[in-house]
């Protein structure tokens, strides 16, 4: 007995499956996004509450020097983290893909990543502080102690540490799919190892390389915790500015404008990524 569902039954099934989730997304994702946009045009009232008048004043304020400096620092941190993640992660992905116990090695790669995010960041504070392990090591060679914490370097190291697996995993997925016959063909055609790699293997890893870059760049640029704990006021990123506006400063309208701006950066990086990878690439990202 093969009964086709009536239109009413179909509607019922769609409502039951998609309905609750869709409602949730509308209430807790779409609506808040609108509220952030709305708030970004409002002003700070005398008691730190949101109030009129509406206008573009918050966006104009973004052009002031300290804020521009924070944007520059965020972009720099995102770019440097991505670069270092590529230097560490790209060769590692090849090593993992060719290893007989790669399952176990991948698990070991993920383990630090599954321990609490704050602990991973805090560990660098412990390592880099004045009486920390790194300075103890340096002093054994008669160097230092250096003031490594708080600094941009400390923020960069912790950010690299935190986001590195986001780079390795997509590249690893690409490396696993490499067609190695192309490399042999390149050798047969007389290419030397470096050229052969550059033209026969490297382009095949583009999807993973692009995905990994986006996955590291976005959170590194958007972080506030890493800079908060390891920059301790010396490194101020967009994320820190946002947190300040919603914390002590209590200027939610300006904080909302900063958030819209940060989202702009995120969408821009996703746009470039989609241009490079095609629409399908966005789905592969997650």
């Amino acid at each position: 007995m093969n009964e086709a569902a009536t239109p009413l039954q179909r509607l019922f099934r769609i409502l039951v499956t998609v309905g609750p989730g869709a409602l949730w997304l509308f209430l807790f994702v779409l609506l808040p996004t609108f509220l952030v946009l709305l708030a970004s045009f409002m002003s700070r009232g005398p008691y730190g509450e949101l109030s009129g008048p509406l206008g573009f004043h918050n966006y104009l304020r973004l052009l002031e020097a300290p804020y521009l400096k924070a944007f520059a620092q965020s972009l720099l941190l995102g770019a440097l983290t991505t670069l270092l993640a590529a230097l560490l992660g790209y060769p590692l992905a090849f090593y993992l893909a060719g290893h007989p116990r790669r399952d176990l090695l991948l698990l070991l790669l993920l383990l630090p990543f599954f321990t609490n995010f704050l602990i991973r960041v805090y560990a660098w504070l412990v390592l880099l502080q004045r009486e920390g392990l790194v300075n103890a090591f340096l002093q054994a060679f008669g160097l230092g102690p250096l003031s490594l914490y708080p600094s941009f370097l400390a923020v960069l190291l912790a950010s690299l540490y935190t986001f590195l697996p986001f780079f390795v995993l997509p590249v690893y997925a690409s490396v696993e799919r490499i067609d190695w016959q192309l490399l042999e063909a390149a050798y047969d055609l007389g290419a030397r190892p470096f050229r052969a790699f550059l033209h026969a293997v490297f382009p095949q890893t583009y999807p993973g390389l692009f995905a990994g870059s986006v996955l590291v760049f976005i959170p590194a640029m958007g972080t506030f915790v890493v800079a908060d704990l390891l920059g301790a006021g010396r490194v101020v990123l967009i994320g820190n500015l946002i947190q300040q506006q919603f914390g002590l400063t209590r200027d939610w309208a300006f904080g909302a404008a900063l958030s819209v701006f940060l989202m702009g950066f995120v969408l821009l990086s996703l746009y470039f990524y989609a241009r490079l990878q095609g629409e399908r690439g966005l789905e592969d990202l997650v």
């Binding site: 099934r13 998609v18 989730g21 997304l25 805090y122 504070l125 009486e131 959170p219 506030f224 994320g239």
Partner: protein, 259 residues
Amino acid sequence: MRRLLSFHALLVYLFLYLPILVIVALSFNESRRGVHFTGFTLKWYQGLFQDPRVLEYFLNTLTVALVSTLVSTVLGTLLALGLVRYRFPGKGFLRYLLYVPVVVPDVVMGISLLLLFAFSRELLGFPRLSLLTVILGHITFQMAFVTLVVRSRLLLLDPALEEAARDLGARGFQTFLYVTLPLAWPGVAAGALLALTLSLDDFVVTFFTAGPGATTLPLYIYSSVKLGVSPKVHALSTLIIGLSAFFLALGYALTRRKV
């Protein structure tokens, strides 16, 4: 070449494990400051277990994680099923909406929810920032991840299996309960485990949506760290590292069971 790669890999793993090992070692260190090991002690763990606040924060963390994981797994699984099985107007938009919690920096996610709760409080009189608002926030990002994980699992399934069930006379709900759900189960379990980990790990969204009395362990760690290096935090971190290792191994065992 292979040797160079091995050496590089060794360095990367050293980079990954050194910070964690230092924390674990320091949690057993007699001395309060510095990295010189002056003697083995369990006093930081004792201090941790005797602190009634830590127990309260632990229970808060657990409550949030369990409730939010349960709700987000149910919502996310249903949503994934609907997205894979049916066509309906607005489906494309819904899929984009689903990516928002995945790509948005968590600080933006935190303040948008804070704004939502503030506006709602102004207009409707609820909710107060509390464990409830933290749970609502966690469900929001967890659900997106669960949906994506379950969806990719459902896309792998052979539609012929469901057709066969219907040909044999199973009704819609019976097909779902006895055919689709068992087949999708590894995806659902992996999604739930991911949701649980994300909730236990979350600091930023919790930071913006928690009110007084809704302190979780990550919030406690943050405020302790802001005050300076503390051996009690090392002890707590070591326990959390051990638990995460356990859960990861469990997840690994689950996902290795393929169809």
